[in-house]
């Protein structure tokens, strides 16, 4: 059972998802937020539009994309989703493609997502963690490692 304090609850994690292309990857990521009541489907369209408008700047590290759009009426709550892709897809980034891990982020303002995002960033920066998530077959295990990564170090 997840709580609001969980970084990413298991029900918003999908592993080894087959996707056709980057738009499909963002749609799966966005649908997890919508199904959880955190966004309307419009938010998914906004996440896709952001990449179409600004380019694949959301691919923030090799293989990792952080899908998001601005706070708006399409956002009903704050939270994260996470998917890993069965086969990596290109987002058009000339250095960090292809993408295997997509994190979805929605926030009702510019700060309520920060502590969760901080934990995700710290988790991904730790050597070996990205590989472990990509190889994982169990969403509960991934959620548990994301939610207990605090080591008491300032982040």
């Amino acid at each position: 059972m997840s709580t609001d304090a969980d970084t990413v609850p298991a029900e918003r994690i999908r592993l080894g998802v087959p996707v056709r292309d980057w738009r499909h990857a963002l749609t799966v990521t966005g649908d997890l937020l919508t199904d959880a009541g955190l966004t309307t489907p419009q938010y998914t369209a906004e996440m896709i539009a952001a990449v179409e408008e600004l380019g694949p700047y959301i691919v923030i590290a090799p293989g990792i994309a952080l899908a998001h759009a601005r706070p708006s009426d399409a956002v009903l709550g704050t939270g994260l989703s996470l998917i890993t892709l069965r086969t990596p897809v290109a987002f058009g980034h000339d250095v960090n493609d292809p993408v295997s891990l997509v994190i979805g982020l929605c926030s009702t303002d510019t700060s309520s997502h920060l502590s969760r995002l901080r934990r995700v960033a710290a988790f991904l920066a730790e050597p070996g963690n990205v590989e472990r998530v990509l190889a994982a077959g169990d969403a509960d295990a991934v959620a548990a490692s994301l939610n207990t990564d605090d080591r008491g170090e300032p982040t």
Binding site: E53, P56, A61, T110, L124, A125
Partner: protein, 97 residues
């Protein structure tokens, strides 16, 4: 020194950049204040150095280009530490304490 992370929306990649850079600045013992802004607001946010992505770098005003660091990886501390240290060395930063 003041570092501003520039992102498309001001709440996603710039936040990750800010968190990583703050951690790197602590490791390097740099006296740095790190903020975020979206690409449309850059001119109204003065800084010693701007950090952004390759996609957004052309949108940084030309007068600020010489103090813009372009990163491709916002999570890996070693690459960011290297870029920050190189900039500090070339800028003769007074912020190192």
């Amino acid at each position: 020194m003041k570092i501003v992370c520039v992102c498309g929306m001001g709440l996603g990649s710039s936040v990750i950049a800010k968190m990583t850079i703050e951690s790197v600045a602590r490791d390097l013992d740099l006296d740095a204040l790190v903020e975020t802004c979206d690409v449309g607001s850059v001119r109204s946010v003065p800084a010693d150095v701007y950090v952004t992505t390759r996609e957004l770098a052309p949108n940084i005003p030309s007068e600020l280009q010489d103090r813009t660091i372009v990163l491709t990886n916002f999570i890996a501390k070693p690459a960011i530490a290297e870029a920050l240290e190189a900039w500090v060395r070339s800028a003769g930063d007074p912020g190192r304490g």
